[in-house]
Symmetry: C2
Subunit: 347 residues, 2 copies
């Protein structure tokens, strides 16, 4: 059987801040069947993840493009890979059967056709949770928060943790893990509403709107009179510089993302290296994919908290394929609250 598959792609490689006109919806016919023994699978996509890092695969140029598959260029007209949840509609792979729910690397389209020896996909055990949780907290957002805080940041009880983009997909979880572990946590976000959310709903000790602040170094000094022990960095640039200036001796920086630098190649953090040396600061870039070995530990540390309501997971879900470009653009203007994703189909 042939069906028409609609998918989002770029018209041209993105230069600077992404615009709606950089994207288009294309249509191609796909065959909904798989040769037995071929390993091919065809999926109907249900939920797809919308992530800031994806810009680095869609840009004109990135110095990192050659160094990591996370930054391999996607060309105009090509399908855009994305993490998500899908349902198997045809399978040549004995691991998957028709109507199985699966989770892994699918794409910003109505269907995914996965071919070849390997692809990143596994059967989904929903554990009774909404499918969206398997795109957000139980997927890379959660693992990134958990691994970044515990494996990179290595907190001790009572330490002071600062989280930027704290109402974002990862930040809102970092803060909750840190609080629950026994740290003092302050987050920053880009609106009054987000700041309230962090303090009232997510249990952050304090939070501030960075857009209201003109001198971030002084701002952090105010929120951390005794210094920062761990900075979970999602943004880079001026906030990273201000955090380094306010860090304590033997402070750790978990460098998770650099959203403020993704769309502006001229924007660069220039942290004071004298501080790095004298305060023996450790800064480490990381990707959740390097911590798949602790996925079971992460999951067991998380599931009960979600079930019992100790943890709040924020999801920001748009509906329909057409909403993908706008959902993506919004990431760079702080439109999302929590994990951004798009629901493509009920079934």
């Amino acid at each position: 059987m042939e069906v028409m598959n609609r998918y989002v792609t770029i018209k041209t490689q993105i230069n600077g801040d992404p615009k709606e006109s950089d994207f288009e919806i294309k249509c191609s016919s796909i065959v909904v069947s798989a040769q037995p023994g071929s390993n091919d699978v065809v999926l109907r996509n249900l939920y797809v993840s919308i992530d800031p890092y994806q810009i680095n695969r869609l840009k004109t140029h990135s110095s990192s493009q050659n160094t990591s598959s996370y930054a391999t260029a996607i060309l105009p007209g090509e399908v855009i890979d994305a993490y998500g949840v899908a349902k198997v509609v045809a399978s040549g792979n004995p691991e998957f059967e028709k109507d199985d729910l699966v989770v892994g690397m699918i794409n910003w389209g109505e269907y995914s056709v996965l071919k070849g020896e390997t692809y990143m996909l596994r059967k989904l055990d929903t554990m009774g949770f909404p499918l969206s949780h398997h795109v957000g907290i139980f997927a890379f957002s959660g693992l990134t928060a958990y691994a970044g805080l515990f494996e990179v940041g290595k907190p001790k009880k009572g330490e002071k943790v600062f989280v930027s983009a704290a109402a974002g997909s990862i930040g809102h979880l970092v803060g909750q893990y840190a609080k629950q572990f026994g740290c003092y946590v302050v987050g920053c976000a880009g609106s009054k509403e987000k700041v309230e959310l962090l303090k009232e709903k997510l249990g952050f000790d304090d939070a501030f709107n960075y857009k209201d602040e003109s001198d971030l170094k002084s701002t952090l000094k105010k929120y951390f009179p005794n210094g920062i022990d761990i900075y979970f960095d999602n943004v880079g640039a001026e906030m990273l510089e201000a955090a380094v200036a306010n860090m304590n001796t033997f402070g750790r920086i978990a460098a998770c993302g650099v959203i403020s630098e993704y769309t502006d190649t001229n924007k660069r953090a220039a942290p004071n290296m004298l501080d790095i040396v004298y305060k023996r600061i450790m800064m480490r870039g990381f990707l959740a994919a390097d911590f798949l070995n602790i996925y079971p530990e992460f999951l067991s540390a998380t599931v009960d908290h979600i079930r019992t309501g100790v943890f709040q997971t924020l999801e920001d879900i748009s509906i329909g394929l057409e909403s993908i470009p706008q959902a993506f653009l919004g990431l760079f203007h702080g439109s999302n609250v929590g994990k951004k994703m798009v629901k493509l189909s009920d079934d």
Copy 2:
């Protein structure tokens, strides 16, 4: 007995590049005796260390001045602390006797008068080596090189190591440790002669004069076509940026010093944070003082190599108290080859 003690001090806190006129030699009378049981010691200084980091205690302002004793301000007229070797001329401390050779924190003067509960001083066992070695390789220069490479850089055999200021007090040792461990080592320095020295005498696999290069990123690409695994950073600024751009996945940066930024507060490294994240680079500031626990291991890993001539230690010794300011200024213009120190007295 009273004697006149001449010592070097600053006339005014240093702003920018240090100048000879920032310094003066002062004279004060000191009492060469110590009350028994007082813990005081009076030393005749024999060799004193001349180190770049000392500028950070002599400057008008440093953001790090409040965060570490390594950066505590020294005021005009005050004695300037420095590591060195001395001879005890009077002691109230039962640990030390007249004529003992000692090593530790003394100062840029003819005599040191150490008072109070604690000071950093120990009896020196020369092990048959020249006294100068106990200011250089067997002191912080050696420990910094050893700890920075092995404890921070954590090399694996065959990995590629880049060292900046490679003909400096620490760099020339880092390269030899790394070579001896089985790494591929390239150093950079600021003159043709230093480059020759690195390649011919110290066994570096390769070396270059950074002053001959206009595009450091391309230069490093040429010397490390397969990327850098460990960067031992003594300089900061553009070289750090170029190194980050050329680092391999899971690369490590041992941030030891930032000499190019010490005298110019506007000069700042702005490494590409996308590289830090995507390549999972770890950058860690460190000070040798944090690794005193491995001093015995460091010493046993070093002594035989010096005795058998496997390791070369470079010392650059000026003579007499009057030479201290010039010796110090020279550090910021690459005048020294290896460990800079000043010999104050034969006895």
